[in-house]
Amino acid sequence: MGNHLMVWLIRTSLLFAVVLSLSVGNAFAHSVIVSQDVKEQTLNRNFLFAVFSMRVTRWPDGRPIRVFVLPDRNPLHRLFVKQHLQIFPYQLRNKWDRQVFTGAGSEPEQVDTMEEMYRKVSQHKGAIGYIDKSFNLNLEKVRVVDEF
């Protein structure tokens, strides 16, 4: 019986240690994440606004930016757009549509779940997205450049 308890305790604390070491410093904020190859350490709101509205399409080093978003009605998307970018989701959608249907630009790639967001941003070069605070990030795969 005592043995079992010890094993359980060890297992649990190991698990906690792993989880802690993997998660972001501030567990109370959502994160803007980029793929590891992106050189920027932090991104300001102006730059994020230009990137997510697809007005700026390259990183400062000249490589293309790959933007990932959740669907328009997703609560985290709404929060990110309204609170952080300080614009309304319908305005972003209008901008994207205008660009796509005039040939002037493109729209972000849409992902449907947090797991997909994490996977896409971690696997593609020059990628940027945002992720919920409850999601456990492996900081060897993505980097946090801003919080909201």
Partner: protein
């Protein structure tokens, strides 16, 4: 300068390049290559006068818009994009697929402070807030755009242009400027003759040249947008030896446009207004227009949109067109041209509702209460004497995008 073969050249070049570079990198391909499209079907019923087919009889389904576009990023700086459109609209458009745009876009600089580039090929005309995407239902606030500024009759002239645009997004105190400078050769077909000569003339416009500039200041993250558009078009008329009153002299029809646009956006409300003075100069063409060779077409609209939630929106708009701003009731023009006075102005009060059950579908319904027939298309209303001054339009529209 002729841009006649530019779009064709671009398309063949693009497709050749796509087929070569598309295959070699699967990861890049799924990102760099994209396809989008939409299908719209409309229904129009009027108590008098026709819009988009014989709407005054039993209503008309004679309206659809189908668009398919693709874009490809060749390098970080160079993109290409093509859109093909089929539009059926009564007797105005016959549904024949047309190359809507086909362009190459090279972006010199790409930063928040300045994103500047050039586009060449067949380009959408950057005129006011709505012109570039006028055929894309998802980008319209209503089924019919305010006809005083975006009159359907002259759409081919306003639709696309073969030439080049220098564009830029430049940061400014409190926001940023979007700037477009365009030079090229506008489309010119029989519909343009109807719009500016009120008939399918004996001769035709055989050459065209256009210059346009638009600047929009965005502040409060695009919550407030204020813009100005100016343009100068010349359409060269070539007579075919017809006889008066169906023929004109060889010469240029000169079209000058000055337009102001403003929009205020909140989470639930959008208030939009645009004002345009469009000077039309028939002096060189003479013919029936010798009687009044220059007129300032004057128009404006005020539009209020209310978004209840993601799914529902409402629209209220007042739209006002005077074909001759110096003759707002059309009295003088009626005497000169032997058409009813109400043929020279239109006042349209529009009520609309939109329903978006999900991201792919959009349904709209709207009512127009119209006084005047200034924008009633000649093609759908062949007998001007039969036009009625007061009329109503009921319209329905379904759109699917992919």
């Amino acid at each position: 300068m002729s841009f006649k073969y530019l779009p064709a050249l671009l398309v063949s070049g693009l497709s050749a390049w796509c087929s070569v570079s598309y295959a070699d990198d699967a990861d890049h391909a799924d990102h760099d290559f994209s396809v989008n499209g939409f299908i719209t079907q409309g229904f129009f019923a009027t108590d008098h006068n026709n819009v988009y087919g014989e709407s005054s009889d039993h209503g008309s389904f004679d309206f659809h818009e189908i668009g398919l576009n693709t874009a490809y990023r060749f390098t970080p700086k160079l993109r290409g994009a093509v859109q093909v459109m089929s539009r059926q609209a009564g007797e105005v458009d016959n549904g024949e697929p047309k190359l809507d745009y086909a362009l190459l876009d090279y972006r010199f600089t790409d930063s928040v402070e300045q994103a500047v580039g050039v586009r060449v090929g067949r380009l959408k005309v950057p005129f006011g807030f709505y012109n570039e995407t006028r055929d894309v239902a998802f980008t319209r606030p209503s089924i019919m755009l305010p006809q005083s500024l975006y009159f359907d009759q002259a759409r081919d002239l306003e639709l696309s242009i073969d030439g080049a645009i220098l564009y830029g997004s430049l940061s400014a105190p409190g926001g940023w400027f979007d700037i477009d400078l365009l030079y090229g050769s506008p489309q010119k077909d029989t519909n343009v003759e109807y719009a500016y000569l009120a008939m399918d003339a004996a001769g035709k416009f055989d050459d065209s040249e256009g210059l346009m500039g638009r600047i929009v200041y965005n502040t409060n993250n695009g919550g407030v947008r204020v813009g100005a558009t100016v343009s100068e078009y010349r359409l060269s008329y070539k007579p075919a030896g017809g006889s008066f009153p169906y023929e004109f002299n060889k010469g240029d029809l000169k079209l000058n446009v000055a337009m102001l646009s403003a929009q205020y956006n909140t989470e639930h409300w959008s208030l939009t207004g645009e004002y345009m003075v469009h000077d039309i100069d028939w002096t060189e063409l003479g013919g029936i227009y010798a009687a009044r060779p220059k007129t300032p077409l004057t128009s404006y609209y005020l539009q209020l949109q209310y978004r209840l939630n993601y799914n529902w929106d409402l629209l209220l708009r007042y739209d006002d067109l005077k074909l001759d701003g110096d003759d707002p009731q059309g009295v003088l023009n009626s005497q000169l041209f032997g058409r009813p006075a109400h043929n020279f102005y239109s006042k349209d009060i529009t009520l609309g509702v939109g329903w978006r059950p999900n991201a792919d579908w959009l349904f709209r319904a709207e009512l127009h209460n119209v006084e005047g027939t200034g924008w009633a298309a000649e093609q759908d209303n062949q007998d001007p004497a039969a036009l009625r001054k007061y009329w109503n339009i009921f319209a329905l529209q379904a759109t699917y995008r992919f």
